[in-house]
Subunit: 370 residues, 2 copies
Amino acid sequence: MTREYRFTFGQFLSQVHLQKKIPPADAILRHTNTVSASRSILVCDTHTRAIALGIRGNLDIPLCVLSPGETAKGWPAVEQILTTAKEGGLGRDGLFIAVGGGVVSDLAAFGASVFMRGCKLCIVSTTLLGMADAALGGKTGFDLLGIKNLVGTFYPAGHIYLPLETLTTLPRREWKSGMAELIKTALLDDGEMVNTLKNLGDEFLRGDLLPKYEEPLFALIAASVKIKGRIVEADPQETGTDRALLNLGHTFAHALESSAGLGNLSHGEAVAWGLVRSGELGHHLGITPRERAVEITGLVRSFGYEIAAPHPKMGDKKNFMTALRGDKKQKAGKLRFVLPASRGALVVEDDLIEPRSLVSLINGEYALCY
Amino acid sequence: MTREYRFTFGQFLSQVHLQKKIPPADAILRHTNTVSASRSILVCDTHTRAIALGIRGNLDIPLCVLSPGETAKGWPAVEQILTTAKEGGLGRDGLFIAVGGGVVSDLAAFGASVFMRGCKLCIVSTTLLGMADAALGGKTGFDLLGIKNLVGTFYPAGHIYLPLETLTTLPRREWKSGMAELIKTALLDDGEMVNTLKNLGDEFLRGDLLPKYEEPLFALIAASVKIKGRIVEADPQETGTDRALLNLGHTFAHALESSAGLGNLSHGEAVAWGLVRSGELGHHLGITPRERAVEITGLVRSFGYEIAAPHPKMGDKKNFMTALRGDKKQKAGKLRFVLPASRGALVVEDDLIEPRSLVSLINGEYALCY
């Protein structure tokens, strides 16, 4: 059970290895043409330390262990990574091996992109969120001034490993964080993924996916890699609108994460909630057919996500609206929303949207019966 | 007296405006297709604040004033820039306008390259070093762990202004810092530039270049822009050896700056000293003809630079050797030196060089009579 995918993102090549087993360091060094272990570092957090040690085996690779979670996703973590690389004597041909979820891979990838103006990078993704989204596509970054990923670069990893066995010990909260991105990708494609997902909600709520449902999970991640890879290839640096499609639900999600306080909601919980809001707003604007908006709400709810507006953890609504307006997808002072269409999704700028519509939406006035 | 040059650096276009006058903000906004002043920030230091205010005029552009000098070239300065951009409400289409020398432009350019994963950048260069080198070619960065530009990106500015009138108030030390890069570029080209320079040393020592020698200075900067632009176009990210040629003398210079303590020697003083060392090492290895090494030493000395080995401000020689080995141009554990050949220069890796040759060189044992 192994699949390989190759993508070209602008000047970068990314190779994805979807497999059951965690890759050992010697395989990674070989794939990345890294001459010796002493030209590399491993970056993990306290949760993935054991996996990173397993990867290292008896090779002499410096280990950088970060504090876990979104709250630690700041400059100090980047400095810790760069210090490990410097003390390890890495040069421009050095290799950063990230072992973890989206936070670890975003931080390590940012570090790799700026250490000596860029060295080699590979990611061993250990969470569903990482496999479904964060590991692929080259976005790196960290939080500053309370804004998620305010600082970042585009820097795709040369090799991305998605070893399913790391998911067997994944905490419930992390499953929930990742599943929302799989749902999002499925909605962009409207293909087999949606049907596969419709049958999994119950099992998911019972906490019963791995190892029993390994095959559908493998198929979902494989489909997600293909869909996301294709979209990013068409628009690696999000200069057009193609790549913006991947932000379906995310304008709302980022604002919610920000107003709830960074780290108080998982990214996926916020994305799931944002997907429902996108459907409702799309329906209000006549972009999303009623039955599609209802289907999205039902699908999101079947995985146990909070769908109510306002979100119980939202905090001050004013903060939410401020965060919404400050969202980094702003272009020329305009906000952009990605909304579900009859099939797939499309990008809508906020001059088509009356400000009080957004207030009504957040107050739950556009909620649909289902 | 205005010249324009266009270069293509990978996916980036850079337009250079070599002119007498400082450009006003409205011209800059027009050139960069920036819709309104509120989508931009100005970045300067306390030395260039007056120039930045002149550029701003009565437009409403937030001003970020950094502490001057190499010692302030760290993360806190980058954070100050990013905070100004965030508070100014800039989006991904925002414009960073750097006004200053190499330190300001490296910092502002790094900030622009990572703010929301990259926004627009233009540089108004106000020092000879900036005009001769730092402003053109896309290298950005800041210092960390005592290593110059340990952190950085490749991110060429869309527009680069080189207004000669800013040089009329340039301190002596800054002239000296920039002239060394002009000498370096001249040595790479072996053309008319060397002859122009040979006639300027005396005037330079009298502190008598502008406005009297405006024309040769204009010609030197124009030649330097053309030569550097051509080299960077061939190898924008220094993956080959073409761009490495621009590091003639720099492996020694970086180590000297580091062992002298960052900020205790100007970059140009270190480069000038490094150029002499390159000639001597090249001569020792049979790469640089004796008369060429002597010519280089004479040219550097005619501008009043310290040429003695060891350099009086070098500090501990051990630190120098450590810094030399840690130089970021290391590839696969090897150090690379750029050495003058019969014409131009070539890149030599250190496995061709016995370690004790470097010790002899630094002790002045390879000094040539001239």
